[in-house]
Symmetry: C2
Subunit: 313 residues, 2 copies
């Protein structure tokens, strides 16, 4: 099987941890164990988020006054190097006989994507309201409420095309484990003369990973996070963890637009386009999710919705 | 022909320029024209330096006080993303029908390399003596004189092995232009249990590129810089630009240990090990150097030393 795994931010950093290199490495070391279990049986392609990291690099760049701030596309490229390196090294320690490649990935977005007029993707740390207002004024950032605080938000245009897809396909066909589309890929627009140029945005990693899984015609696409499953009525009385769902059935439900809704949308798009299985759940359950025993799986062959601990409805 | 090109720092930043993303892009755009000329006729593998860039990222990391400083291996990985991205994008604009891959590259160094006890590789900007002394005291950096000022220096252990070499070989064999071993590769040691871990160092990019050219059995290895050739008695009366040289003959001459000596050593090591041609010279002359018409070429078939504008001695 060809399996695309999108690693959520918690694979790199647990909530509340300081964003140090050592913390990222320690978390990735745990993730590498779960990823290796998949790679021993299947062809594996790994993507990952970069929200906290690209936010940190933007803050570091702004803190050093002698050189003007670096744009988000270049910072995104830096995070692909940083995070890809840590994942590749720790995965190689689990799988010393495997070939692993971390590939810089650029993703085309539309210059007229409405997201450029409405920044929505949170990056960097959580601020208090007054800190956020001060940073917005001093750096020209857009900020928005997120959970218990505020975060910087940037445009998140839709991914249209992965420039390096033929190289990724070539490597996967040769049995190489590929780490790519990090941080949703570096967003690039194609100008009227056909040339490429990076833009100040961050593509959603679940959308980019779904595109990657579609273009690779993957058999399975896993979005691994720190939540064990997709929940119906999350946080409300009677909430239930979804086990299996058909795309049409789960599309009819409503989820938090800031976290689960884009994952469910990406999942359904892939399942409907390619016919593969999508799993959403906890990193440590990766192999069990792939077997349909844990997390939430979405596939066109599923009947309606079933919940963990109950029979299909 | 299979051609490995090592891009010197000036391909990314001219002396005296501010290290902005825009300046790097403008310089790489020019370099991309010269690289594309080679890639249209030959298999091309590109490596590059990262001294100024890794120094900048270290300063940015230190300037943002809320998170502890990032180690040099992770910063090196960030520069592979940053610089590789700009090169890949600008080269793709020159060669829209070519496949290009930027590959994160780790290079093994010996844990007991004497370089760890004697930092020598300059990174980051030029400082006055008093600035350098203050930074050394506040950050625990080693600093050393460099040209008209002082720079931070870090250990520069010898490269022993390129972990991703089989992936690089695979891509080159399939006609993909590969950008790799950026900044000399990320230095990694192998521990007693066989596992890998990054170390705080920066590998010399010419040494790493020579190793890359050797392992790929390249036909030609070009080190492109902002000097038109290797000069005998550079800066002295009667200085002459070397045109062609046999490794034995050029090894007997002496060069600036801070700039040309490591290039000449890397050149001779490759020429003697593989029998390929090495060219050292200006970026804009790349294609002419490859034809033996410009710069300095070193090959085991050459007779002694010949100079530009004169007959062989």
């Amino acid at each position: 099987m060809r399996v695309v795994v999108a690693l959520g931010g918690n694979a790199l950093l647990r909530r509340g941890q300081a964003l140090t290199a050592a913390n990222q490495r320690a978390n990735v070391r745990v993730a590498a164990g779960a990823l290796a279990e998949i790679a021993r049986k299947h062809d594996l392609i790994i993507s990952h988020g970069n929200g906290p990291q690209v936010g940190l690099l933007a803050l570091q760049s702004a803190a050093f006054k002698n050189v003007e701030d670096y744009p988000l596309d270049v910072l995104g490229a830096e995070t692909e190097g940083m995070i890809g390196y840590i994942i590749e090294q720790e995965l190689a320690n689990e799988l010393p006989d495997s070939d692993i490649a971390t590939l810089l990935t650029q993703i085309e977005v539309a210059a007229n994507d409405p997201a450029f007029q409405a920044p929505s993707k949170p990056i960097g740390p959580l601020y208090t309201k007054s800190e956020a207002e001060r940073l917005a004024a001093t750096h020209g950032w857009a900020v928005a409420p997120d959970g218990s605080g505020y975060r910087r938000v940037v445009p998140s245009p839709r991914p249209r095309r992965i420039f390096e897809i033929s190289v990724i396909e070539l490597l996967v066909n040769k049995g190489v484990i590929v780490i790519c589309a990090g941080g949703g890929g570096i967003p690039v627009v194609v100008r009227e003369d056909g040339s490429m140029i990076g833009v100040e945005a961050v593509v959603d990693k679940d959308r980019a990973s779904a595109l990657l899984a579609c273009e690779l015609k993957a058999d399975a696409f896993l979005m691994l996070t720190d939540v064990a499953a997709v929940w119906d009525r999350w946080g409300e009385p009677g909430a239930r963890a979804i086990h299996h769902a058909a795309p049409g059935a789960i599309r009819a439900m409503s989820f938090d637009p800031g976290s689960m809704a884009p994952k469910v949308e990406a999942a359904c798009n892939f399942a409907e386009a390619i016919g593969g299985i999508v799993g959403i759940g906890a990193l440590n359950d990766a192999a069990a999710i792939l077997r349909g025993e844990a997390g939430t799986t979405i596939a066109i062959g599923a009947e309606g919705i079933s919940f963990h601990g109950t029979e299909p409805t």
